[in-house]
Symmetry: C2
Subunit: 392 residues, 2 copies
C-alpha cells in the first residue's frame, strides 16, 4: 500500500465516526459544570497516523499536553515513549506501566533532587542547555545520556517559542565538551520549531540551522547519535493543517536530506496527539450588551482562562464553537469566562460569530480541546472547581 | 485620639514585627516545593486599618483574593462581611461561620442554579449588569435586593479593568426599572475603580461619574440606599502606596462630598486585605546565559505563571524578591518559571536586578504574595503540584 492509499483509507475509515462518538456522548449527558470529554480511540488513531509518517523515529508523547492517566495507559500499550517535564509526570508514566527506558526527562530546568529521583527510577536520558544543568545531572545522574537543546531562531509557528529554552549555537559545542568532561554521555541535540507549526514546509529553515551545528559537532569529534526534533505537530483549530502522516513523512524526508542516516530520532508530539481527542461541554451563563450603542454582544461561558482555556491568552488559539442554534443568523460576540477577573476574556480583539438567538442556559461545545486544557485549569480560582474530565 | 495619632501608633506598633514573623518561620523551615506562608495576624491588622478609615461602611472581603479557610475564619470573627464570586465561595464562607446576611453574591455572571442555591442559603443581595441576569435572579431568588454594576470609564489603576463588568450609564436606570418590574428590590449601584489604584486621589473622576448616575436615578424616583464602592485598595509591591486608613478615610470623604448621607456603603477590599500577609518561599533551579554575548542571565525559579504567579501576566504585578545573597553585586536577569512552556516567563521586558552570585539551590523569597496566588495555581500543569500553603 502506498502512503497516499494508506492515508486515504485511514481518513475515510475513522475520522468522522470518532468525532461523532464524543458528540453523541455529550448529547446524551447532562453536565452540571464544564467537562472535557476525551476519546482515547482518537489518541490511538493519531499515534498510528504519526507513526506511519515518522517511520523509525521514536515517538515521545509530550505528557504535559494532557496527563490524563488513561491517555498515558493507551499510549503505553501502543508502544509509545514519553517526554516528561517533571518528577510528577515521570511517576505518572511509571504508574501507567511505561518502561523507564522509554521516558526522557526533557525539561531543561530540573530540580537536583528530581534528577536524582529519575536516575534511581532508571531514566537515562536528560535534556540540558546550560553549564549548571549539566553539573546537576553529572552529580545526580552520573554517566547519563544528555542532549543539548538549541535555540534556532524565528519560526513560522502559530505560537513561536521564546528564547526560554535552549542555547545559541555558539555554546552548543562547549556544552557537549563540558558534558564529556563531567563523564556524561553527550549523544545529540534537540530543538523545537514552535507549537502549532501548521505546514511541514515551515521546518526547512530550522532544520538548516540545526544541521549546521550538527555538522560542526561531528567535525569536532563528537559522535552524535540522537536528534530530538521536539514537537510542533499541529492540531486543527479552524485553519487548514496537513494530515499528520503526510506532515510527519515530509519532516522525516527533510531530515534525511540534511542529516543523512541518524541512528536515533525522537519526536515529541503533544498537541498533535491529543487535541482532537477532546471536546468541552460548556454552557452560556449570560448574553448582554453593555450599552445601547454596543456593536457586540458579550457572551459569558461557564469556562474561561482560569478553568481550562488558558491558551486563549493573547487570543493565540482560536477554538471552534458549536451550539444547538447553529444555522440561525449570527452576529459578532466578545466571549468571556465566568470569573470576576477582567483578564478572563477569551476573544475580544477578534470577536466570534455566534447565533443572535443564543441565551443563558444554552450548551456550547468547544472542539479540539484535548491539549493544554485540563492540566492548566486552576485549583479553584473564584471558587470554581477545576475542569472535569470524562474519558469515554 | 485623632486619625493621625491613631495611624502613627498603629504603624509603629505592629507593622514590622509581623513581617518578620513570616521571615523567621521561613528561615527556620525547609521546603521541598514552593510554599506560600500566610500570617492571619496581618490580615487582622489590615482589617482594623481599613475599618478605621472606612467608618460606617461595611467591609466585604473579596474572597477570590485568597480563599484560605483560616483567613475567612479570622475575618468572620472580626465581623467582616464577604463578597462571593461563586457558589463555592459562598459555601466556604458559610462553613467558616459567616452569616448569610453578611455575604453578597457579587459576580454579575451567575449560573441560574447557583442563584437558587444562594437564595435557599439565605443570601439576599445580588449584583447584576444586564437584563438576562435580572431575569435569572427574579426567577431563582424572588424579591432579592439587587445592585446594578456600572462601567465608569478609564481609571488610573495599575491594572485597569476591561469592560467585562458593568453596564454603561445609558442602561443603568432601565435596569433599575426592569428589576422593579420583576419584583426585585433595586437598592443601588456598584462600580470598581480598578485593581491596585495606588492613591485615593485617583478615585475622584470615577466618583464624579457614578454620582451623576446616582443623582439621575434618585431624580427618576428610585429610592437608592446602597453604594458598593468595590475594591481597588492597593498593596505594596515596591511603589509607594498610602497607608490603608488614610487611603480609606480619603475615599469616604470624597464619597460624602458627592453623595451626601448614603444609608449603606459597601467596600470590597481583596488585595489590600491579604497581599502583605503572605510570602512565598521559592528556590532557584538554574542560572544560565543563552549565548556568549547574552546581556542578561536567565534565572529559573521553581514557581512560575502556572503555579501561583499568574499576576506576572504582561508583567503587571512586579513582586519584590529577597535572596540570601542580597548585598552582593547585582546584574539584570530574565526571571522564568519551571514549566516547559515558553510563556512561563515572569519578567523579561523589564529584567530584575539579582545578585551575580545567585545559583541553583538558592532560596528566593517573594514578598507580598498573599493575594491572587494560591487559588490561581494550576491543578498540575507540567506535573508540578499546586502552590502549597502554610498558615502560621
Amino acid at each position: 500500500m502506498t502512503m497516499t492509499a494508506y492515508v486515504t483509507d485511514f481518513v475515510g475509515r475513522i475520522a468522522q465516526p470518532c468525532a461523532t462518538r464524543i458528540e453523541q456522548f455529550i448529547a446524551d449527558t447532562s453536565f452540571d459544570r464544564p467537562t472535557l470529554v476525551l476519546d482515547t480511540d482518537i489518541v490511538a488513531r493519531n499515534f498510528a497516523a504519526l507513526r506511519a509518517g515518522l517511520g523509525h523515529a521514536d515517538i515521545h508523547y509530550a505528557v504535559k499536553a494532557n496527563p490524563e492517566p488513561r491517555i498515558i495507559g493507551t499510549l503505553v500499550r501502543l508502544g509509545c515513549h514519553f517526554d516528561a517535564a517533571s518528577r510528577g509526570e515521570i511517576e505518572l508514566c511509571l504508574r501507567q506501566g511505561a518502561d523507564p527506558s522509554a521516558i526522557s526527562f526533557g525539561n531543561t530546568v530540573k530540580r537536583a533532587s528530581d534528577i536524582a529521583f529519575a536516575h534511581r527510577a532508571g531514566i537515562t536520558l536528560f535534556a540540558a542547555d546550560a553549564e549548571e544543568e549539566l553539573e546537576k545531572i553529572a552529580t545526580n545522574a552520573p554517566g547519563a545520556q544528555v542532549y543539548i537543546r538549541l535555540i534556532v531562531g524565528a519560526t513560522e509557528a502559530d505560537w513561536p517559542l521564546s528564547r526560554k529554552f535552549g542555547c545559541a549555537p555558539d555554546k552548543a559545542l562547549e556544552l557537549l565538551a563540558l558534558a564529556r568532561d563531567l563523564s556524561l554521555d553527550p549523544v545529540g541535540f534537540s530543538f523545537h520549531v514552535g507549537s502549532q507549526t501548521r505546514h511541514a514546509s515551515m521546518w526547512a529553515g530550522t532544520l538548516d540551522r540545526v544541521a549546521d551545528v550538527w555538522r560542526d559537532a561531528r567535525a569536532a569529534g563528537f559522535d552524535l547519535t540522537l536528534l530530538n526534533i521536539g514537537g510542533g505537530f499541529p492540531a486543527f483549530y479552524g485553519e487548514e493543517v496537513q494530515h499528520p502522516t503526510l506532515y510527519a513523512a515530509s519532516v522525516m524526508d527533510q531530515i534525511a536530506r540534511r542529516f543523512g542516516d541518524v541512528p536515533r530520532i525522537m519526536a515529541e508530539p503533544g498537541r498533535g496527539m491529543v487535541a482532537d481527542a477532546g471536546m468541552i461541554a460548556a454552557e452560556v451563563l449570560l448574553v448582554s450588551r453593555k450599552s445601547h450603542d454596543d456593536m457586540h454582544r458579550w457572551v459569558y461561558l461557564d469556562i474561561g482562562k482560569f478553568s481550562g482555556l488558558a491558551e486563549t491568552m493573547d487570543e493565540a488559539i482560536r477554538y471552534q464553537l458549536v451550539t444547538d442554534r447553529d444555522g440561525d443568523e449570527t452576529g459578532p460576540c466578545i466571549l468571556a469566562g465566568p470569573s470576576c477577573d477582567s483578564v478572563d476574556v477569551l476573544y475580544e480583539k477578534r470577536p466570534v460569530a455566534l447565533p443572535v438567538t443564543l441565551r443563558a442556559g444554552d450548551r456550547v461545545l468547544i472542539r479540539n480541546c484535548g491539549a493544554y486544557t485540563s492540566s492548566y485549569s486552576s485549583v479553584g480560582f473564584n471558587g470554581f472547581p477545576p475542569l472535569d474530565v470524562v474519558v469515554i
